[in-house]
């Protein structure tokens, strides 16, 4: 066998195998139970323990369209959890590119809950249950300034309403009324919250991140500076599973749907690595 030829395989064949590995599972969707890891369970528990009468959940995003498939399901799962537990949700975007994504996510989850609601109390009302603060540059400014006054640094929300006129903002002034800030990121936002907001104001910080960023945050999970984490699309699927198992919220679980395709993609890569090594050692033996 010509092992050298196998080593120099046309990369289009690899691309084709990878493409098929991702597309075929998407054409035949199926759910695979993921089983939550410690860091995800820890984040779930921290949020679940928030007293919705006293404190809120803050979701801070800096993800962009590039990292949307991994990060956006995390925002949706967090909102579902908080809305079910009647914990008010405050959201902000640290980068402008991701701001409209978060807005569409809020609309989707609100619609999901309101389509099932039977009374005004059951419904998710903007201003009472959720507020989208929008985007304020540069990131360090809102991260620090929210320790003193959230309405001060975000005088208007994403939709142009006066922030201090919204119902929930009458009792949420600064980080004292924030149970946890979950920073969802393709970069380092959770670390900025740890460095600037937690050290100065003592707010709890959680993380949701792309799988490639996750190794950066494990040391902070170990010390407790980050209360819990969703690592990559699997982390999002784990959180979706925890919310679904606990509250049966329903709704589309995009990360869980993506798990089969991701499993297949990982298998394809591992298959090619094994094949490459077999070809490498066989060609050396031949030589």
């Amino acid at each position: 066998m010509n092992w050298e030829r196998l080593i120099q395989i046309d990369r289009r064949i690899i691309f084709l195998a990878m493409g098929l590995g991702i597309i075929i599972p998407m054409l035949f969707p199926m759910e695979m139970p993921v089983g939550a890891q410690r860091v995800t369970r820890s984040l779930f528990k921290t949020i679940d323990e928030i007293d919705g009468q006293e404190q809120c959940l803050m979701i801070s995003s800096d993800y962009t369209p590039q990292t949307e498939p991994e990060c956006h399901p995390m925002s949706l799962a967090l909102m579902r959890h908080a809305f079910t537990r009647r914990i008010p949700v405050l959201l902000n975007a640290l980068y402008v590119e991701g701001a409209p994504l978060l807005a569409s996510g809020i609309e989707d989850v609100m619609e999901e809950f309101n389509s099932r609601a039977t009374t005004h109390e059951d419904s998710i009302i903007y201003g009472r249950d959720v507020v989208y603060l929008g985007w304020q540059p540069p990131p360090i400014v809102p991260i620090l300034a929210m320790g003193e006054s959230i309405a001060g640094i975000y005088p208007d929300d994403y939709y142009g309403n006066r922030t201090d006129s919204l119902e929930v903002m009458q009792r949420i002034r600064n980080y004292d009324e924030v149970g946890i800030v979950v920073a969802i990121t393709g970069l380092s936002a959770p670390l900025w919250y740890v460095m600037f907001a937690q050290t100065k104001y003592g707010v709890k910080v959680g993380a949701g991140c792309t799988a490639v960023c996750a190794p950066d945050f494990y040391p902070y999970c170990g010390t407790g500076q980050i209360s819990g984490m969703m690592a990559g699309m699997k982390g999002a699927a784990e959180y979706e599973e925890l919310v679904e198992e606990t509250f049966q919220t329903g709704g589309r679980r995009k990360a869980t749907e993506g798990m089969v395709a991701q499993s297949a993609a990982h298998l394809v890569i591992m298959g090619f690595v094994i094949l490459g090594n077999i070809a490498y050692f066989a060609s050396r033996r031949q030589a």
Binding site: I7, I9, R11, I14, F15, A17, M18, G19, I22, M32, P33, V34, G35, Q37, R38, T64, P65, Q66, T67, E68, P69, E97, P100, L101, P137, P138, I140, V141, L144, A145, E148, I153, K200, A211, A214, P215, D216, Y218, P219, C221, G222, A231, G232, K234, A237, M259, Q262, S263, A265, H266, L267, V268, I269, M270, F272, V273, L275, G276, N277, Y280
Partner: protein
Amino acid sequence: MRDKLPLALLIILGLFGLTDRFLPHPIAEGFNQYLRDTLLRIISAFALILGLGNLILRHTKKIQKKEEHWQHSWVLLLSFLVASIIGVFGGVNGELWFPTQVGSFHFDITTIYNKVLIPLGATMFSLLAFFMASAAYRAFRARNWLAVLLLGSAFLVMLGQVPLGARIWSGIPEISQWIMEVPNTAAKRGIELGITLGILATLLKILAGIERSWLGSGR
């Protein structure tokens, strides 16, 4: 004077930034709040203008000199110009005076974001999976025991990151988690400490006026 004024400003403002952590006095806190909430945002706005100006100049020069791939610079400049005009004069949803609709065809900034930016961004990022597969095939070789260790860890973490791992063997996600929480954390802590000490040393050199490369080349 060209060097001394920015250096003096940096030292004074830098020291004020540090006092915020160690001097909880209302005057110091108030001044720091002003620096952070007002001055920093003004500087950021200027940085944005500077960045955009630099981008336009760089690509204009590239076109003038017909450097490699100069045609791509035209795409960048035209996209920038068109998106800026639509955004500034048409508003986010086409609510301003610039027309952003022809019949049922919309081209306001929100539509551009949803129909162009999101798919382009997703496409760029998803291409990574294909190139990673190709690169892994060619470069990931078990040449020595260290490479075998790396390969083994990579396989375990990759399997632990998907539900298939637990289906193969229930211990795989646990091992994957252990790799992330123990050896990864140990290595990361070492790297982070090194970086932080380096940042501190550089910061002190800048504050003391020893490190002046930020003032411009040749200093």
